[in-house]
Point group: C2
Chain length 479, copies 2
């Protein structure tokens, strides 16, 4: 499966030090056990571990216990189910690779609800293979991707009695309900979870046949603006022209946040933005991305964004600003002649390295205060913030992952970023402050959170190979 390795970026280093003949045994083992892997994955997928539904609470715990048993079976040690205020965590490790880096792997064993269940072509908890895809709730998000690592670990330990690196596994059962208990646990046990890299397999590839490594995420600053013009709503006949209308004022303020060429007008907003490197822009240009088909898929008359940047650059690496919601006055049927007393808008900014959420919130507040006329009372609320995240794509761990994917998939991966935030990445970044690799094997059409969720079996098998290679590659990194 593995093709010749050709370094695409500076900073790439050579293969790890696992004996080649042992690695070949590992790969052979993986390639000859595919049918068994599918059968075992079906068992994992059969447990309806829906974390959002109280009636599935015992199923979630049963799934944690099944997972722990599997982790022990494949050779992980210190395996335990850890109770939390919600659903349990599962931990296991293998720490006998003296002098080698330590990998902390994160995944989740809980799944989304399945309604509307009528739209499933096969029962969501009876995994079914059709046309090279395995259909079940959790197939891709995230049981299938967790299982990729279980099988890579199993292959290494079975064939060589050891892992090439030190390895810690932390799985949660609350990812689909906000991961409320993960963060406090990770912070409280940062020393126990200490590692050289965090490895997360819960994301997608750029496209079918396009393995990818995501090395950056945007952050978020989410604000709410409330304006009040008068004590109560007024009749627009009696008072139109007499008082400022907060809906009109809100529109004026919102219109001044971003100009018609897509540039955010908040003074200082772009000051801390880390410019895209030429290598990154070149990498993005290599991607099979078709603006016309995106436009069609979204049903947008035209695409629109900051001038001077491609769609992918705008989506992944440039900050932006959106009105997420606004409301004032009468919004039902017909024509009510009211001057609303109040207007509300929710505005969020996607931010990029090295913008700081607090600094951006402060700039936003100062500007909105400045441009809002004294004819209305103004209140600005900070709703939510998330740090942007980025591990340089030439980071040694990212590059090791790149080589592993190239070997596992027979194809050089593309290096991507993403427009959204992934809260667990921020959680680990804050608590552990080590590089994080998003090593994801899902596909954009995997129907996450929807009926007929699936996982591509080629990605499953190649993911196991890539994971097996990754441990070997990381072992070659000098700490």
């Amino acid at each position: 499966m593995a093709q010749g390795f050709s370094p695409a970026f500076p900073g790439m280093i050579g293969e790890g030090n696992l004996e080649v003949h042992t690695m070949n045994d590992v790969l052979d083992f993986i390639n000859t056990n595919r049918d068994r892997y599918v059968e075992e994955l079906k068992q994992f997928l059969a447990i309806p571990s829906i974390s959002a539904m109280p009636e599935h609470q015992t199923d979630v715990r049963r799934c944690a216990e099944w997972t722990a048993a599997e982790m022990s079976r494949i050779g992980l040690e210190n395996v335990r189910v850890i109770d939390t205020a919600g659903h349990p965590l599962v931990y296991g490790d293998w720490l006998h690779a003296e002098g080698k880096p330590t990998v902390l792997f994160y995944g989740h064993y809980d799944v989304q609800p399945v309604d509307p269940v009528d739209l499933w072509q096969s029962p969501p908890f009876e995994a079914t293979v059709r046309d090279g895809e395995i259909y079940a709730r959790g197939a891709s998000d995230d049981k299938g991707q967790v299982f990729v690592h279980f099988k890579a670990i199993e292959a290494h330990i079975t064939k060589s009695g050891r892992l090439p690196v030190n390895f810690k596994v932390i799985l949660e059962g609350e990812e689909e309900v906000g991961s409320v208990n993960l963060g406090p646990y990770v912070k409280a046990h940062a020393a126990d979870l200490a590692s050289d890299m965090v490895l997360i397999s819960d994301t997608e590839m750029f496209d079918r046949g396009v393995p990818s490594l995501c090395y950056g995420l945007r952050g978020l600053v989410y604000m709410q603006i409330d304006m009040r013009g008068t004590k109560g709503d007024l009749h627009s006949g009696s008072y139109g022209g007499v008082v400022a209308n907060p809906a009109n004022v809100m529109a004026q303020v919102l219109a001044q946040l971003k100009d018609r060429s897509g540039t955010v007008k908040i003074p200082g907003f772009y000051d801390a933005v880390r410019a895209l490197r030429d290598e990154e822009r070149a990498e993005f240009r290599r991607l099979p991305f078709n603006e016309v088909s995106v436009k069609k898929y979204l049903g947008a008359p035209r695409l629109f964004g900051e001038r001077g940047y491609s769609v992918l650059e705008r989506m992944w690496a440039r900050p932006t600003l959106d009105v997420n919601g606004m409301v004032a006055g009468w919004t039902g049927e017909g024509s009510k002649t009211v001057i609303p007393a109040t207007a509300m808008a929710k505005v969020s900014m996607r931010i990029v390295p090295n913008q700081d959420p607090v600094a951006i919130a402060e700039l936003f507040e100062a500007y909105v205060k400045k441009i809002t006329p004294k004819t209305v009372d103004l209140k600005i609320t900070r709703m939510h913030g998330a740090m942007p995240w980025m591990t340089d794509f030439d980071n040694i761990y990212v590059q090791a992952a790149g080589r592993a994917i190239e070997k596992g998939f027979g194809k050089r991966p593309v290096f991507t970023r993403e427009g959204g935030s992934i809260p667990v990445v921020a959680t680990f970044q804050e608590a552990l402050n080590v590089p994080c690799v998003l090593f994801g094997f899902g596909l954009p059409d995997d129907n996450l959170h929807a009926p007929n969720e699936k996982f591509n079996l080629d990605n499953f098998f190649q993911g196991i190979l890539a994971s097996a290679f990754l441990y070997q590659e990381v072992a070659g990194i000098k700490g």
Copy 2:
């Protein structure tokens, strides 16, 4: 009661030709029958003619019949209750003043619901006099004001056997539910209702002790703007910076409708506006109007409107534009990171003579189309339009009304306009095209449509005197 007459405006003419000794008899009759008037009005107010509530349907009809009986009793002829698809109309006339003008009087006998009934200090259908005010549902709106004319008619016919003018009365029982059957009836019977002036007593005086004549109303153009950016809502992380956000676009468009000095930016919007005459501006300046107390009453940080015009000028005689409602995206609690697929806004313009609602709607559409970028799909809907209305304040009928008020109230009236529309004025204007006089005796604190509706008894009695004088004054106008 009547004081010396001093013409305040050019175009005023002398008194009518009713013999002075007869007019004195009429006034004496009115002044000596006050107690009886109150008792009779209480009977009228006792009928719960709530047009909006089906369970009061028979009460509404009973009220129409009571009204018809009273009209016959006071000497009107051809009295009849006219069935409609809803509540009945009541008609009566007296047409024996050969060579004299014909007055068409409009009023309504239906009333608003009374909830929350707990907040009434006395039962809404047991009229109670306290401190010179009569409290009951319909006291001011509009039974008390209709009764003013009944008693003025009665006094004339009782004392002189005739009215000084030809008189037609049309009353409806659906004013509080949108007057849906009045317009078609008036249009279909325009010849029967032909007259030289329309007289409506269903409005307020400017303030307590400030009798007034309203000679102008603003019209209305009410539009809805719908924008669509994409087929469905998008995640703002995944797509922020990629597509135009219709909420942002809507804000930009709304912000361009009116500038920060309160001037409407739609090209051509002001072209047909009839400038305020110096006499009108002088008249408005005479009014007891306190900007500080208005600001306090409304709870507004500041008043705001078109530069170069006073508050009353902006309220009554200048067109304006307001966002009456807008909505897009997530408006509930918290921070949903969505790029809304659609945005909607309701925008209305108050228009003044000689702006035309259709022409203004066309200007609005052309401008909004021009300033809306091609990144969103745009739909503009014409929701509602109403003609502005104005009878010059030096119109002979308006001036006759002014003299009548001066005689009835012992005080020169102020000549005002109003910011809103009164649909029945438009109905009569369209069907009959004659001057309309708004001869109203309510007060701003009469609690219309609210608990503890009342009518000031001084205004009731002086209104009867003023009405008796009005018929005499109109009789003096040469057709």
